[in-house]
C-alpha cells in the first residue's frame, strides 16, 4: 500500500507570510500532482512533477519533487486570503496506475 503523508494537516497564517507544506512517502512515484480543493467541489489540478529534483513555479507557488521521487513540497510566498483551501498531493506509481491521494493540508490565510 502506498501512503502519502501530508504535513501539516492544518495551517493558519497571516496574509503576507510564507509557508511550506510537505508530502512524503516511502514509495517511489513516477509522477506527483498537487491539487487544490474547495469545499463541496472537485480537486483542481495545480501542477504535475515527474523528474526527481524538479522545481516548478506557478506565480507565488513553488513545487519541488524530491530527488528520489518519494516526496514533494509546496511553498507559497506572500500568502493571500485567496490561497485558503485544501491542498492535496496525489501520486501515481506508474503511468497507467490510478492516483493515490494524501489527506491534504487545510490552509487558512487570515487578513
Amino acid at each position: 500500500t502506498q501512503l502519502l503523508e501530508q504535513s501539516p494537516q492544518f495551517l493558519s497564517i497571516q496574509e503576507g507570510e510564507n509557508l511550506t507544506v510537505y508530502c512524503n512517502s516511502s514509495s517511489v512515484f513516477s509522477s506527483l500532482q498537487w491539487y487544490r480543493q474547495e469545499p463541496g467541489e472537485g480537486p483542481v489540478l495545480l501542477v504535475t512533477v515527474v523528474t526527481g529534483g524538479e522545481v516548478k513555479k506557478l506565480k507565488r507557488l513553488t513545487f519541488q519533487f524530491g530527488d528520489a521521487r518519494k516526496d514533494s513540497s509546496l511553498h507559497i510566498t506572500a500568502a493571500q486570503t485567496g490561497d485558503t483551501g485544501l491542498y492535496l498531493c496525489a501520486g501515481a506509481r506508474s503511468g497507467n496506475t490510478p492516483l493515490v491521494f494524501g489527506k491534504g493540508t487545510r490552509l487558512s490565510v487570515i487578513a
Binding site: S30, G42, P43, T48, T97, V100, F101
Partner: protein, 117 residues
C-alpha cells in the same frame, strides 16, 4: 476549456435503493476513474476504466458497484443497493493517456454528493 461534468450534483436516496451517478469525461481522454471522498476524509480510489473494461479496482469497489460506458460519451457508476456508509462525494476523473506529462494529468469533475438515508 474542456472539463469533466457530473450529474446530479446532489442525490438523496433511501437505503437499499439503486443509484446511478453520471459523468461525461473530457472528449479525447482514454482513461476514466471514479473516486469517493467521505466527509472529512481523503479522496479514495474506486475504479479505473480503459478500453471499455475495468483496468483496476480497489477493495471498496465490491459487487454492489459497477461501471459502464454505454454510449461513448457517458461514464456511469451504479451502486445496486445503497448503504448508509456509501454516503460520500463521488468524483469522476479522466486522463488523456500516458507517456508525456500532460497525458498523465487527471482532471476531476465537480462531484456528486450522495446521501443515503
Amino acid at each position: 476549456e474542456p472539463e469533466v461534468t457530473q450529474t446530479p450534483s446532489h442525490q438523496v436516496t433511501q437505503m437499499g435503493q439503486e443509484v446511478i451517478l453520471r459523468c461525461v469525461p473530457i472528449s479525447n481522454h482514454l482513461y476514466f476513474y471514479w473516486y469517493r471522498q467521505i466527509l472529512g476524509q481523503k479522496v479514495e480510489f474506486l475504479v479505473s476504466f480503459y478500453n471499455n473494461e475495468i483496468s483496476e479496482k480497489s477493495e471498496i469497489f465490491d459487487d454492489q458497484f459497477s461501471v459502464e460506458r454505454p454510449d461513448g460519451s457517458n461514464f456511469t457508476l451504479k451502486i445496486r443497493s445503497t448503504k448508509l456508509e456509501d454516503s460520500a462525494m463521488y468524483f469522476c476523473a479522466s486522463r488523456r493517456g500516458f507517456g508525456l506529462v500532460m497525458n498523465t494529468e487527471a482532471f476531476f469533475g465537480q462531484g456528486t454528493r450522495l446521501t443515503v438515508v
